[in-house]
Symmetry: C2
């Protein structure tokens, strides 16, 4: 009974199974329990699942991997209800929440159709999963023909064996142009009433050449949630280049603990350091306490994706660490001197006392060059720390600098460089996942951690894809970055102002509003003897010779 | 002058360049020097290169990566000679050595067209390289139309801009069936007179589903040679699953030492432990002395690829370690209970004194399970040794056993298991490449080392691909091996006899002749109270219920 009424994908499976059997048995009283809960009070049941598991935008609180799984009971049961009791109007329920749920699921996907592996999730689950094939046909049939759904069918390479699937297949066959998925930049609210932060996805470019930047600023997401507020993923070149680790699990691999979740899912994959968000004082957000994490959420600040050359999103996560407020603003910017859009990241932390701020980047591939003098741990390695996930990271190298930081690696056919603003006594640590892993459950990936001690701090960084490498053709071009400097001109509770400079006259000034409400009119902030004026939540000025605004 | 007369690819480039310019200038005396050496004594020059750099089979002493490179001067200059001085008969020279050279190059390639990265070599160089495109057209034009060359053109997706290329393109267009590469099992002799060992390639299956087993038992191969006699590569599932590291170089990546060979090419990639061949007493073959290595070669024993279910090759490398003789016999066997062909490896070492024998396997992917109790180095790691390449291997875990060994890993969509015969006080060490690498030049790959102390020793092992894993579809099947035991019944200078057992009635008895000459008639060997009779160089008996012989 508790599981049947539980607001969770297990509950969805239970009510869908009972409800569909009840229709077959002709037991409409049992159907009522499936729809309205075992006590018929609406605290459990299918409709409560539809009310509480999704935000008004259709975003599912557990994330894309689990909605993929739950699409099957949601759509199978909905279709049964619609056929047996059309008077319920299930497809219209909650302003067509099922339609929104399906679109919200597939619109989070990377350009290659893989779902971003936020929270507990496989790295490879994609829109070709059988549950998505089912939901694609029913959504197409019940909510109207949409070219994008034909594009999904193309990735899926099959349709469900049903009237809806047949209709989809016929329309696919009849379509004159090749159907393509083309998702825009999109933001989803989170929480059942849509006020608990959200998920932002900025996109530039088309098809597999699209750059996609995702930031996570919603609810914890239940037992499969990760302690990763303000975490981001950067997808470029058809892959995660700043990556999420996904779950700690070898799914269905019997010798690996029966294919179930492994201890390292708790001890590493869920921890803050396993993500691309700042760790304060070496500890996981909410001290790894799920109840505390569930009691709060990150908050959206703004999401603006209209400009052609600079799109941006901003969010806050306050009190995830006692006494520390955090705001992250991320932009995708393209400009003539650059081959590909770059990520600009302004991660601001405020605290009344000095704290240790660790800014991690989980990348892939080979370290190529840096302006730092690394002291490499050549002949002995220890873990980077003793708890909160750090015990699983081999400490491969460290460097110290008072100047700005550049670090370049090679991933596939492109180079990537981090350029980050100067701060006194910055430390940079390099690591590789795999320590304290007696049963070889973890995957071996590198990461970089930028460590600074401060009260208030602005990490201002650019992540720049550049150049080209093809080992088979023995070609390498532009192995060093074009962005050469990131300078913080000032930051306060009013605004952050930075300048970014590079080769070929690249020169940008970026202002981001740090005010708690969205702002529209002319704003001003003064740092030292410089005053800056801007309009709206953010402003990117292309100075120098760059051509972005031409 | 020294470089011009040098028997080496640098010499080939020099004589080709000078010769072709000489034709343009009409300076036939200079052409003569290009053909016959600067002193016209035949000790240098193009003909001497053709005489000395190839075995009579056309195998190039530096290996596939470097012949790929040298194909360009060989074929450009040959075509110039043929057009300007057809009386030289360059394409007929040395019994059509250029034809043999081209076929020997491309016939070493993996089923995906990539050249096996033996000696200094890139991991991805393939038959679509421009030099191979050139040679493919000229070979097709000058030596007659061959369906296989059309198959190569298909992989290349282009032809050279020449009359020969046009002819190839027209024939490709006119061919009724889709041209396919289909290389058979093949052995190449090595050394200019063909008596210095060779290279053996066993193949089972077709296209990308082909299993390919390569063993290297020829000459050292000059300055780009590796100290890796009796090394092997196993290609399965479209990739190297037991791998060669290739060179220690980020080719043409300017920040990596200008893209040139790195110090780690010497200190790691060339060393014996970087390969899949036994290391004696923790030292590299020939004590890493190139002159000593050049003064000897491995020797072929036999190569027989006619049987449908069990094909085999055998070779020796004696005195690469003082007082140690080595013989390796490798088989590809398929049998009804198995999804894919398996590798059977009999590596025999003899010594008058007790030595340490390290048997390494360089694999890829994730450790899944083992019958060993590993002691994992969870909280601190050191290198596996202090020299001969061991200093570059992080020591991740160790185990000790007196029983047989099973170790399973996952690579892509398949599982792989090593099953190895028992030996008292065996040690198994797991490692990961990357120690003592201050500039991050090495790639991070795992390896396994089976360590035993003995005078005479037979490592008898099976490498079995099995099962299926698809993370995106969450499917896993047969994650554990079907081969359950490998038992050594005896080994001597006459023969080695082993039995292999497995599930579903799998039961094989394998006899391999260890006599120095090939044998044909009925042979007999006795171990304890058991006598074994067989015919020829090797014999595989399928006992029990298995169906291979049906």
């Amino acid at each position: 009974k508790a599981e049947f009424d539980r607001i969770h994908n297990h509950g969805t499976w239970a009510v869908a199974a009972v409800g569909m059997i009840a229709y077959v048995m002709g037991d409409l009283a049992l159907v009522e329990k499936s729809l309205h809960g075992s006590d018929l009070d609406g605290k459990g049941g299918f409709l409560a699942q539809l009310d509480l598991l999704f935000s008004p935008d259709g975003y599912y609180m557990e994330g894309p991997y689990y909605i993929r799984y739950a699409l099957m009971p949601f759509f199978y049961f909905a279709e049964a209800v619609e056929r047996m009791q059309p008077e319920v109007g299930i497809y219209e329920y909650r302003d067509q929440i099922l339609r929104k749920a399906y679109y919200a699921a597939v619109q989070t996907s990377f350009p290659n159709g893989v779902f971003p592996p936020i929270n507990d999730a496989s790295l490879t689950m994609d829109v070709a999963a059988p549950e998505v094939i089912l939901a694609n046909a029913l959504t197409y049939d019940r909510y109207g023909e949409d070219e994008d759904l034909l594009g999904i069918a193309k990735v899926q390479e099959r349709v469900s064996l049903s009237g809806a699937g047949l209709k989809l297949a016929r329309d696919f066959d009849a379509s004159e142009s090749e159907p393509q998925i083309s998702w825009p930049s999109v933001e989803f609210s989170d929480g059942s009433d849509g006020t608990s932060g959200g998920l932002g996805i900025l996109r530039m470019g088309d098809g597999m050449e699209q750059s996609m930047l995702l930031m996570k600023y919603g609810v914890h997401g239940g037992g499969h949630g990760h302690f990763d507020k303000l975490h981001f993923i950067f997808f470029d070149q058809g892959r995660q280049v700043i990556r999420d680790y996904g779950f700690g699990r070898w799914v269905n691999v019997e010798p690996k603990f029966g294919g179930r979740y492994l201890p390292e899912n708790d001890s590493y994959a869920m921890q803050t350091i396993a993500h691309n968000t700042v760790v304060v004082d070496g500890m996981t957000q909410n001290m790894w306490d799920e109840d505390t994490a569930e009691s709060m959420s990150a908050k959206r600040h703004f999401f603006e994706a209209e400009e052609a050359h600079a799109i941006a999103m901003s969010a806050r996560a306050d009190t995830y660490y006692d006494g520390v407020d955090m705001q992250r603003t991320m932009l995708l910017i393209k400009d003539a001197p650059l081959l590909y859009p770059v990520v600009v990241d302004l991660y601001r932390l405020t605290s009344a006392t000095t704290r240790q701020y660790d800014y991690p980047l989980h990348y892939s591939g080979q370290n190529i060059t840096s302006n730092l003098q690394f002291e490499t741990n050549t002949n002995a390695m220890q873990p980077l720390g003793s708890g909160h996930g750090y015990q699983h990271i081999w400490h491969t190298a460290q460097a110290r600098t008072d100047s700005s930081i550049q670090f370049t690696w090679l991933d596939g056919h492109r180079y990537y460089s981090l350029t980050s603003s100067a701060w006194p006594e910055s430390e940079v640590h390099l690591g590789r996942i795999g320590a304290n892993d007696p049963d070889f459950n973890l995957q071996s990936h590198p990461l970089l951690v930028l460590r600074r001690q401060a009260e208030n701090m602005l990490f201002a960084s650019v992540i720049e894809p550049h150049g080209y490498f093809n080992e088979a053709r023995e070609r390498s071009a532009q192995a060093r970055p074009r962005i050469t400097g990131v300078n913080v001109l000032g930051h306060s509770d009013v605004a952050s102002v930075i300048e970014i400079t590079g080769q070929e006259g690249l020169h940008w000034r970026i202002v981001v509003s740090n005010q708690s409400e969205g702002v529209t009119g002319l704003q001003e902030v003064t740092f030292g003897d410089q005053s800056f004026q801007w309009t709206g939540n953010y402003q990117v000025e292309f100075l120098g010779n760059s051509e972005a605004e031409n």
